[in-house]
């Protein structure tokens, strides 16, 4: 039978007897749901979560499509055939939403018992939907189905919807409490999306018609607003995908934005009436699509580059970690080896010293000269071993400092006095100036501080051919610090050398011109020792051939 008061729709769905909002609320929401659902499903067909989301999207789109037919069609047999399934689909939507949230939060399939409960809840709806109990007749005048006792079914659908929302809420709360990190944010987003969708869908569609049936509300057209809930849900799904790569989908924000823009502009076709406006919307759509395509392509390229760099950085981090492990192993090896070498070299030095002092009788001058070479080399070797041992201790964090309060000036003066004969022997001047007018008491290890000062002055003497070395002590009461300067007229350093001079195994390029020995560890050890005692060392130079100045700085107490 045909509803004689109404016009036959064009293309099965389009009728002038329906409100404009109908198409805007139904078609874009259904299309978005299908696109998102299909995209996620195709991305990983075997993932249960993806399949469940796709099922929800299909059910929703099916509901929207049938609802459009119900609004526009005028054939009683078609309308009575589809009418019972609004309730059935809404019941399925409710149960599938619970199933989906269960899998999302628990990361595994629901137990058989829960599946049985799902089936028990759905069975009455599906079995009784096409019976007289649900739908008994059709009003041709209003083009509307009616039922004798459909109030029972409506109540059941609505209760099932409410049950679904409560069930989902409980699942989300339970998971949120036990979840950690980013998963908590995902639960919030998913919870907001699906609850908003179910709330709008059930309240605006079934509850609206339910209340209208009781005469409590007049306008049952508000059911159309219920479909916007799906669009909101899909937006939340989009955020989850873009931000957290949920559903194992890799999509860029730019791609999601482009899809949204294309759908939004396309939906304007349902509003525009004139051909000119349709052409304008079409041109805008085409422009957006082309511009968006190039934008997405460019963003995708940049993201790929960024991902490559991130991977390289990760690999580099791993390599660095491995290098540190190797370095530690090397330090341990050096430490063990140095300890083994120190004892014999000490013996060698002792005996050579005794030989030179004549404890074993007189030697010819030539043998004396050779013995002096042996003494010098063994001294250098002992010093190198000490450097290696210090480096090992520093890197292993086992360097011990005996901290006490002492006057830095006194120690500097003492070291200078000690090294004065060596300076004279080399034909160099070694001067000391006290530039501090206050006490220079510092809190540090006296022995190690002396060792560093001696090392710096000795270095300065080694790398100076003519002229001399000036040592001075300064202090600044306002900044509460004191510092020693060791200024020489030696080979100097280039800018590049200055940047690396305190690093391990680094020697100035011109260092060998003056002093062929040296491990390149002395300055590194000095720097680490002083910083270990709360001070700092640094150096300046006006360039190669213009001398250098080394600084040892301590805080005053």
């Amino acid at each position: 039978m045909i509803c004689y008061f109404f016009e036959e729709p064009i293309y099965f769905l389009f009728s002038s007897d329906v409100p404009d909002l109908l198409y805007y609320s139904h078609i874009p929401a259904a299309v978005i749901a299908i696109i998102v659902g299909l995209f996620i499903f195709l991305n990983d067909r075997n993932a249960l979560l993806n399949r469940l989301l796709f099922s929800i999207c299909i059910l929703f789109s099916g509901w929207a499509f049938l609802n459009l037919i119900a609004w526009t069609n005028i054939h009683s047999d078609i309308l009575t055939f589809i009418w019972p399934y609004f309730g059935a689909i809404s019941a399925l939507l409710s149960i599938f939403s619970v199933y989906f949230v269960y899998v999302f939060t628990k990361k595994h399939d629901v137990p058989v018992l829960v599946k049985t409960i799902f089936l028990m809840l759905l069975a009455p709806v599906l079995i009784l939907a096409p019976t007289w109990l649900n739908l008994s007749g059709f009003n041709i005048a209003n083009c509307d189905a009616y039922g004798y006792e459909n109030i029972i079914f409506k109540t059941y659908y609505v209760l099932l919807g409410i049950l679904g929302m409560i069930w989902i809420f409980c699942l989300l709360i339970q998971s949120y409490i036990t979840a950690i990190g980013k998963f908590r944010q995902q639960i919030i987003l998913m919870g907001l999306g699906i609850e908003l969708f179910l709330f709008l869908f059930f309240t605006m569609t079934f509850l609206a018609s339910y209340l209208a049936g009781f005469g409590l509300i007049e306008d049952s057209n508000i059911e159309m607003y219920g479909l916007f809930g799906m669009t909101a849900f899909m937006i939340f799904i989009g955020i989850l995908i873009v931000q957290f790569k949920a559903f194992n989908v890799k999509i860029l924000a730019a791609q999601a934005l482009l899809i949204s823009l294309v759908i939004l502009i396309s939906s304007e076709f349902f509003f525009v009436d004139t051909t000119a406006n349709k052409v304008l919307v079409g041109v805008t759509l085409l422009g957006t699509f082309i511009g968006g395509y190039f934008l997405v392509k460019s963003v995708k390229r940049e993201v790929e580059q960024r991902e490559r760099i991130e991977k390289l950085a990760k690999d580099l981090g791993l390599a660095n970690k491995r290098l540190k492990e190797l370095d530690k192993m090397k330090s341990e090896f050096v430490s063990i080896a140095s300890h083994q070498l120190r004892s014999p070299i000490t013996s060698i030095r002792g005996y050579v010293s005794m030989l030179l002092e004549g404890s074993y009788g007189a030697f010819p001058d030539k043998a004396h000269e050779v013995l002096e070479h042996v003494a010098e080399s063994s001294k250098y070797m002992a010093s190198s071993i000490e450097d290696y041992l210090n480096v090992s201790r520093i890197e292993a964090g086992t360097m011990k400092y005996e901290i006490s309060n002492f006057d830095l000036k006194e120690q500097v003066e003492s070291v200078v006095d000690e090294l004065l004969p060596i300076a004279k022997q080399r034909g160099l001047s070694l001067l000391f100036h006290n530039e501090s007018n206050i006490e220079t008491t510092v809190k540090a290890d006296v022995g190690k501080t002396r060792q560093v000062i001696m090392n710096f002055i000795d270095n300065a003497l080694k790398y100076t051919k003519e002229g001399g070395v000036t040592v001075a002590i300064h202090s600044d009461i306002k900044k509460k610090k004191t510092w020693i300067t060791i200024e020489d007229t030696g080979v100097g350093m280039s800018k590049e050398t200055l940047e690396q001079v305190f690093e391990k195994f680094v020697r100035a390029k011109n260092a060998n011109d003056v002093n062929t020995t040296g491990t390149g560890l002395g300055l590194y050890v000095a720097k680490m020792m002083i910083s270990g005692m709360g001070g700092r060392v640094y150096a300046t130079s006006k360039g190669e051939g213009h001398g250098s100045t080394f600084y040892i700085e301590y805080p005053l107490i």
Partner: protein, 124 residues
């Protein structure tokens, strides 16, 4: 067996859906097993009729009663379209007890009737 256990939810659900849709198809497309109600002519001089409007401003009125018939009978009597079908306007003997005409009941608040007396529901 394991596969059956794994997919029992989907299998039973699909069986339920197929059963339900088949039942619906048979009932509404094959058996026409439902009632159809529509407006039929009513004489305000003999019956309490509903008052309908021909246009939005309700300048032109018309009078009608609501007839409810079994869809299968109606389809046999008039085919797909009841416009111009005389058998559709009244209850026929062939309709049995599955046909009724409802006249306007003035006691129902929202009803606009030609007479304000209570008219019982006639059944053949």
């Amino acid at each position: 067996m394991k596969t059956l256990q794994k997919y029992f939810f989907v299998i039973i659900l699909l069986l339920l859906v197929v059963f339900s849709v088949s039942m619906s198809f048979v009932r509404f497309f094959v058996s026409y097993d439902y009632m159809v109600s529509y407006e039929t002519d009513c004489n305000p001089e003999t019956h309490s009729c509903f008052i309908g409007c021909e246009d939005d401003d309700c300048v032109d009125e018309y009078y009608y009663a609501v007839i409810e018939k079994y869809a299968k009978q109606l389809r046999q009597q008039c085919g797909k379209n009841i416009i111009g079908c005389e058998s559709a306007e009244t209850c026929q003997i062939a309709d049995g007890n599955r046909c009724s005409i409802e006249y306007c009941d003035g006691e129902v608040e929202e009803n606009v009737c030609t007479n304000d007396y209570v008219v019982p529901k006639y059944k053949i």
